[in-house]
């Protein structure tokens, strides 16, 4: 009786000890991996940081200005190239009917207001309303 229980406890002890050892080893491995990943993340972050600095360096306005002039043939836009959205004909609108009304005064803040925000005005009345 005593011998049997002794065997049982010994086996259990060995099993638990082995299990614990394996578990601990695995945790240790995972911790190593975690640390390695964290180190890699920091290394990546530092690389991103360097790339951001390089991005800013490459985006120097003086450099972009020079590149745009040399390769794209771009020049600064003039005031004539900017037009109010409201001055554009809307789709389906017949624009040739109306005599060009005296150019309406407009505040610069209204310049980017989309035409959809206004109630539709019949073409014929536009000159009168403005």
């Amino acid at each position: 009786m005593i011998r049997r229980s002794a065997v049982f406890w010994t086996v259990l002890l060995i099993a638990v000890a082995t299990g614990l050892y394996v578990l601990k080893n695995r945790v240790h491995d995972l911790e190593d991996r975690l640390q390695r990943l964290n180190r890699e993340i920091i290394a990546e972050q530092e690389a991103i940081h360097v790339l951001k600095a390089e991005w800013a360096y490459l985006n120097q306005p003086a450099r972009l200005d020079d590149l745009a002039r040399r390769h794209l043939g771009l020049v600064p836009e003039s005031a004539k190239q900017v037009i109010d959205l409201a001055d554009l004909p809307r789709p389906g609108e017949v624009t040739t009917v109306v005599d060009a009304p005296a150019k309406s005064p407009k505040k610069p803040t209204e310049a980017i207001k989309p035409p959809a925000a206004r109630p539709p005005i019949p073409v014929a009345q536009r000159g009168v309303q403005r």
């Binding site: 911790e31 600095a53 800013a56 120097q60 600064p76 836009e77 005031a79 004539k80 109010d84």
Partner: protein
Amino acid sequence: MTAEQLTPVRLEGQAKQIIDTGRTRLLVTAAVFAAAFFAVSVRLAEVTLISEAEEPRITQAAPVTKVQTTRADIRDRNGLLLATNLTTASLYANPRVIINPDDAAAKLARVLPDVSEAALAQKLKSDRGFVWIKRHLTPRQQYAVNRLGIPGVDFQRDERRIYPAGPLAAHVIGMTDIDNKGLAGVERYFDEEVRSRSEALYLSIDSRVQHIATSELQRAMTAFKAIGAAGLVLDVHTGEIIAMVSLPSFDPNDPGSAPVDVRFNRPVLGVYEMGSTFKIFTTAMALDSGVTSMTGGYDASHPIQISRFTIRDYHGKNRWLTVPEIFIYSSNIGSARMALDVGGPAQKAFLGKLGMLQAVPVELSEVGAPLVPQVWRDINTMTIGFGHGLAVSPLHLAAGVAAIVNGGIYRNPTLLRRDSATPPEGRRVISAKTSREMRRLMLQVVESGTGKMARADGYLIGGKTGTAEKTAGHHYRQKALLSSFIGAFPMNDPRYLVLAMLDEPHGNKETMNYATGGWVAAPIIANIVKRSAPILGVAPIDERAPDIRRDMLVQVDYREGARASR
């Protein structure tokens, strides 16, 4: 079986008593032991099964530490990186461990070209535990040193301040020393702040506008062979400095290569007698105080003789001039009389309100204090009326003019991004009515006065030219001019203010050898506005629209009625 064989022994008397005592003692001891073991097992069960003990049940991942830098980034108003810290490696040695200093020095000098072999050998022979060999190695150099495998030589993680934008806004950002301490500019003013915070510091500077202003000023500086230039772009409603240019500029990544005077920040640290641009203040003061009106006028038919000075007109008309005429034709005589009419104490108080008498409270460590006359006599009142005898920085002038055109509220200029929806509290310096009148006058200067070259279609620029002779000791040098133009746009509702100043420009064929503000500085303003207005979100307007014409109308001409009113 054994029990049957044994005959119970009966003990009597003393012997029985002794055995009883022994038995009791054993019992007590056993009980104590049992209790102790019970306590141990209870504690064991508690520790292992019940309580959470020391180790947490739920394991937490080790936190990922962010890249920690000793200085926070500095960015422009749109987030473009202007200054950041990069990790580098620095090389040091422990001379006590180095076996052969001469050999080590020779090897290191071969891979590090800017290290002198002799000086290095000297260092390595010293009896110290630590010497720097070179700070901030490039990765390639680090690899080369590693390959040498010299014992006693090692790397330390170091940080280096990098300015990706190079010379752009170098005077504003400033720079740091090799140990990352702020030496100049914003880096110095916000040194503590930049060291302690982790998120970036956002400046009010817009890199794009800064570039446009820099390139236009540089072009003019080259064309007119000027020795220097300064430029400012200010948001008139918030006081934010959108661009601040000082030329010649330097590369803060390599500050040692630039002479000290190049690092001088002209728009803030330089104080100059600004000349005619000051007539903006004189006219605004005279109109606001009520001593004259838009229909008033002054006699400018003869030069004024006062003590040993003679006040003359550059664009002389030699007659009675109306207030708008005095401003538009930039009459020194008229402005002097106007200033005298208001009076010295009132003038001093007015300029004080505009911040002209003390240093501008801007976020830079180097700011110039204005040169204010010690005694404010009539002669000072008159000369200051047309911008001589009081030296201020271009930023003083810009902040003051911003207040004149924005509706009359003075706000301290700032280099930090502000929320435009909630402009900071300012102080009222002139009435909204005077501000409107000044806008009309400034527009007229460009439409029909001395500043015609500043015209840019669609942006309704208004401003004032300024040409001052630079002082040398106690007299003025006629050939050394300080030509400037200060303007705002669009003049019907000003949003931005632009200032350009050239130091000692020389006229060329294109300007018919004139080097005055109207000829050399005004075109810079037109170019800066044309290029940066689309970026700043200012849409062009139709200048011929009737309501704008009506708003901006000024009765300039000399009329008999005007004379009679005075």
